[in-house]
């Protein structure tokens, strides 16, 4: 599983945020565009792309994209 690809998939769930702002260390919930619907889209994207079911709490408990990626990797095994 590739973090760069994950970041791209993650960024694709946003419409108005500059792509350059998305890195492994991005604190995604601090982005202006972040909303509960974005959270649902991230959960659905992870299911679609990685066949992994993450929960709302996994998002709540992650500050950075890297932290969420780590959860997805762990659940993928």
């Amino acid at each position: 599983m590739d973090i760069q690809e994950f970041i791209e998939n993650f960024a694709a769930q946003f419409d108005d945020t500059d792509e350059a702002l998305f890195t492994a260390e991005t604190k995604f919930k601090e982005l202006d565009e972040w909303s509960s619907l974005t959270a649902l889209s991230i959960i659905a994207m992870v299911d679609d792309e990685y066949d992994v079911i993450i929960k709302g709490n996994d998002i709540t408990n992650s500050d950075t994209i890297q932290e969420l990626f780590n959860i997805v990797v762990k659940k993928h095994k």
Binding site: L37, L40, K55, G56
Partner: protein, 250 residues
């Protein structure tokens, strides 16, 4: 003054409740039994169905383990059913998914459980005359898809809207046998269905505050609506979608 006046009594009625192993179905089955009905309950989980059965306090009740999306199970259920005076079709599922992820596969999964399974059961109960003349059928729909359109609820809401639509057609057609068909459209009710983690507990607690009556529904709030629709108190009511949602959709 007559003291035992009770137009909501279900004494002498035989009633089927699907999805009785959990949530609304369980609460509805128990409420019907307390109102004097003879119950036939069905669900997919043997242990939890037994739990419901044990709470009915009725030795003559029947439990039938069945997954209504499986053709063989549906046929076995229909063959085992006694003549019914009422049915509450509670079995259902939900998903929270933005529409751009609502693939044909996701829609199919949701419609299979929430729409095709109950509609096929309803059709066959009527066709095979399992439903007595004057029987009352209650479909558990949702405010989602007809009265409320919250982001992320489209796939689920569409399945419930379809259910509400067929409910009205069935009410018109089945009236020839005086069979009544109504639905209940609940807002968010505190059942295992909403605690699967896609929405966090904190988000649920926040959402509940948006209900004018200040809380999510209890399963009993919905079960009591079903009692009314099943009883002779609603003899002149058919084709109605009864919204029970703490005022959310106002």
């Amino acid at each position: 003054m007559e003291t035992n006046y009770n137009p909501f009594s279900l004494a002498g009625k035989t009633i089927l409740v699907t999805g009785a192993s959990s949530g609304l179905g369980q609460a509805t089955a128990i409420a019907c039994a307390r109102m004097g009905a003879s119950l036939v309950i069905t669900g997919r989980n043997a242990d939890r169905l037994q739990e419901t059965f044990d709470q009915l306090g009725d030795e003559s009740a029947t439990q039938i383990l069945a997954d209504l999306t499986v053709k063989e199970d549906l046929e076995r259920l229909l063959a085992a059913l006694p003549h019914l005076d009422g049915a509450v079709l509670c079995a259902g599922n939900s998903t929270t998914l933005p529409l751009q992820f609502g693939s044909r596969e996701k829609f199919d999964e949701m419609f299979e459980v929430n729409f095709f399974a109950p509609i096929e059961l309803l059709r066959l109960m009527y066709k095979k005359k399992v439903l007595n003349k004057g029987a009352s059928v209650v479909l558990i729909a949702s405010i989602g898809g007809t009265h409320s359109f919250m982001p992320g609820n489209g796939v689920y809401g569409a399945s419930k809207a379809a259910l509400n639509s067929v409910m009205k057609y069935a009410a018109r057609e089945y009236a020839s046998r005086k069979v009544r068909v109504n639905s209940i459209c609940p807002g968010m009710v505190d059942t295992p269905l909403i605690h699967r983690g896609t929405i966090t507990e904190e988000q649920l607690a926040e959402d509940a505050k948006r209900y004018p009556l200040g809380r999510y529904g209890h399963p009993e709030d919905i079960a009591n609506g079903a009692l009314y629709l099943l009883s002779d108190a609603s003899s002149w009511l058919t084709g109605h979608d009864l919204v029970i949602d703490g005022g959310f959709s106002i």
